[in-house]
Amino acid sequence: MTKHVPNLKAQKIQGGVASDQRHDSAHKHVSGTAVYIDDMPEPAGTLHGCLGLSAATHATITRMDLSAVRAAPGVVDVLTAKDVPGENDISPTGRHDEPVLADGKVEFYGQPIFCVIAETREQARRATRLAKVEYKQLPFVTDIGELNPRKDKLVTPPLTLKRGDAEAAIKAAPRKLKGKMRVGGQEHFYLEGHIAMAVPGEDEDVTIYSSTQHPSEVQHMVSHALGVPSNAITVEIRRMGGGFGGKETQGNQFAALAAIAAKRHHRAVKIRPDRDDDMTATGKRHDFVVDYEVGFDDDGNILGVDFMFAARCGFSSDLSGPVTDRALFHCDNTYFWPAVHAQSAPLYTNTVSNTAFRGFGGPQGMVGAERVIDEVAFAVGKDPLEIRKKNFYGTSDRNVTPYHQTVEDNIIHRIIAELEASSNYERRRREIRAFNANSRFIKRGLALTPVKFGISFTATHYNQAGALVHVYTDGSVHLNHGGTEMGQGLYLKVAQVVAEEFQIDLDQVKITATTTGKVPNTSATAASSGSDLNGMAAQNGARQIKDRLTNFAAEKYQVPRDQVLFLPNRVRIGNQEIAFADLVKQAYMARIQLSAAGFYKTPKIHWNRDKGEGRPFYYFAYGASCSEVSVDTLTGEYVVERTDILHETGRSLNRAIDLGQIEGGFIQGMGWLTTEELWWDEKGRLRTHAPSTYKIPLASDRPKIFNVTLADWPEAHEPTVHRSKAVGEPPFPLGMSVLHALSDAVASVADHRICPRLDAPATPERVLMAIERLRAARPA
């Protein structure tokens, strides 16, 4: 990179907000020089850890003979539960239900029970296999289909939302129906697996490089596990090779074990699980069984809805409370339920503890809502899109959610109208009918589905952020904040905000690794909040410095404050202009503080979980997608012929980045609902724990025609950072249009008279079996 000379005559800075900047690390990604934790040079003498995993699904450990493990070549140590010096617990919500290493009892197949520390990773892996563990098997349950959501064991208290009297409304409705839907879980499949490297320091100190979305939590968990104060632990992460929620809490275990071993042996310790161990021993998206009952009239107006959202949570709570809460928060999607009752059941199962995944339960809630719409559409014999539009939230009335928040920023009507027109929905609907009438084996399907996604952590206290901004005497800026970079371009967006604030070119802003030593007590980079929170905090930090510079300039040059203007790379003070760097230098000489800690907390939000009332979300993000598929009715195989998307991100900070989030989110959502299937065998073992058996979308699974448009007219209803809106999670449920297009194609084999009740993931197998079911039930 050549040294940048700022243009002091520029009309506009390079790389401010609302400009399409490439990812700050793009040139390093493509050349292999972007450093991920496993690429860092290891300190001399670095040891390597490997987890020993349970071979029983639910059992007490009757005997654990690790002598052969200890005797294996290169083995330095074997850690078990008793070697955890502090508390053997990494429950992120303080429920004390998740041990670092299982102690005497295992609750899922693949639960870590010991950790081998050896000279090389290979030696650690090989030694792990030599353990002799004996179990006394206990009864287990892995599938929530066998459970009663009202009676069986929960991992965390359930939530109920209600508005109006749903039972009475359904009872009084002219039409009603009941049903059940299964929607599968999802493996994150971040390309970089979990990894932690702990480097011991003096006294109680440890520095941990952890592939985590939540450095502060890793810090807290390691401090608990070591039994030392938080100030002894520093956690740093420059970048992750993908996170998607899978690194919100799941990195704690690896970090804790690496830190324990590092302190025991006074050597650096790295733990990087093999992909199969990573997929076996870390949590995934929750799968749900959704029971629904709906009352409606002959026109398809929905009058009352009752939902039960039962989730497979695994053996511990992890984030299952807020995940199942968020499912309920999205059981309305874009629809006004005149009377609604919705309950969650976060069920205990003998499976890995499920965790955050892009959307955090929200998509599962929305899938439930869309199934209800489909059922009503089939019942009244109308196009599902018509039923959707009929039941949308209003803008001035019919706008109160099941959690009693008023939807103030509804733009779904225009989004749908524009997409319906640009995708030629009606014409294609007719063409597809004609095609299907003339095609014996291949059937086409079409669907247009909306998205409304609530933005904010529902745990209100997480909606805060800090940033640290330094201006050096040459005018260059060092930026740090609590957000983590996992590919979503957060570092870049926040740097754009800071560049804009100081009116300096983007490459004058140095983006630095997230570390608990610079910005403390941070929230996870999650809930799509990264830019909203950290952008505002960094803006606040920059503004504090700018304010001091303004005061200094006004005083020194004897002009009123309003005559100090920050122009591109320069400052106008009265009638003269001086370079930004020169003003900074002068300020330094006058002993002005050129560093600031910025802070932000989201206004307006509050939530009373006991009452099920409040304003959990600062605002909503909207979008819609329309997909067309072809289905082979002999085998259930299918292809996505075309997808059109219209999605909004307010006044985008960086449309190029946002477009990547929308395209990537859609494909990931499509994968969740189509080919990505988690499969447990009769012994309770997850058998899809590698890319050979777990199938995420490929380039050749993209829609053949893929039109993605960012709506350019909306701006954030609330004063968010430069009126932009969150884009991490909202595009994910756009994938629903593929599921519903498949359902539409299936429905054609029974002349669209029977709701296919196509469950997810809609693998070719599920599609074929649904076709068979409909053929068997087809009216003669």
């Binding site: 290979e122 590919g487 979503q488 002999l634 195989e637 012929e641 990537g664 494909i667 050749s700």
Partner: protein, 493 residues
Amino acid sequence: MAKVKTRNEIRFILNGEDIALADVAPDATLLDWLRLDRTLRGTKEGCAEGDCGACTVLVGRLSAGRLVYESVNACIRFLGSLDATHVVTVEHLRGTGENLHPVQRAMVDFHGSQCGFCTPGFVMSLYALWMRSPDPSDAAIEKALQGNLCRCTGYEAIMRAARAISRYGKAAKDPLAAERKSITARLAALKDGARVEIGAGKARLIVPADADDLAKLLDKEPGATLVAGSTDVGLWVTKHMRDIGPAVFIGNLDGLCTISEDKGVISIGAGITYSEAFATLSKRLPALGPLFDRIGGEQVRNMGTIGGNIANGSPIGDTPPPLIALGARLTLRRGGKRRTIPLEDFFVAYGKQDRRPGEFVEAVHVPVPAKAAKFAVYKITKRRDEDITAALGAFHLTLARNGTVADIRIAYGGMAATPKRAFAVEKALLGKPWTEETVEAAMAEYASDFTPLTDMRASAEYRALAGKNLLLRFYIETMGTKAPFQVSRDEAA
């Protein structure tokens, strides 16, 4: 057989550097060597099983005297298999002056990376594609990227970049193109006709000089592990941590890598990769083209061999069913002795093949069907590409002049413990008029031929149902229908 000379080191070129390794374990992988020994950490480990492509590097080798660069998975590629090759990693890419390489520039400008972890692998796959096809079709790009997973971008930005690479430079002027002559000469010099032998006992690694040398060697050491493409054996090491020594590396071995046709029979040497076979087979047996496009990803097709796919004996190998339907025969060799058997007889039971101690699969002989015959093969998977078969059916039909079935051979994978003929179905069809009624009646016979299993890829019910429906699909296809009879990625709606 003349005595071959022996060498005690593996020699190859890494980027620009000559490498000679005298201390190599048989199970040492290229990826670990690059990352740990050479600290070349641009190449990433994503899965260690050849499915995600984060570890993609290029391997240049002389194939019939011509230098070819192919994308491969470094995670399951053994160092022992690299003798006389040119290994090219992402660190070797360079553009003009201070610029990045054209592939890299396109990826940057079109926002082809997000988290960046898969990116070096994508860059290398696109690089291999661009060198042989500077202006590829979307279908060609998708095919070249079947072995590369990206979880962030949804691929659209990568596709845009891939289409634009040639705007940033000319493939003909690429350093690897400019250096072809000198690299060819260097590789030819490395191929000195010697047998490579390193280590002793379980740590023994051998690269035979040629097929005759292999025969001699294996006769003496029948317990050695034969490693061809290592797309399966690689996982024995990375996933199961099995000891594979002594190991004999037979990829790219002279005498095993020929493909020829004589009197309507195509003979495929056991060392021929899927990629090498594709050109001949897709021309002479067009139905195999689309199947080969769906075996593994590009990297796996560049490494994996048809011989290995057969010898390995898997019930879900993709090549045995169509080859059995075609009536292929298999030559096994021990020392100087050869025997040739019908391919279907090779598969005795689950995990058991008719390969005697000291024998190796030398070649498979595939009769090209008569012009009038109909031949088709259909693979069913959860994900269309780069997925392991749930069920695969191959059909080879000859009709008599009166429209009755004169001959039919049907073979399936994924439906039994071995690749297996559908004898009862065949019997129900033989001699009958080739009509939908006949086909419908024969579909009932699947239950006597197959009792499929339920596993993570498909349930028994689905396998049984979709499996028999393939016969109906075959019937429809033979009737020359214009209406689509299977979904296709080829043309847009």
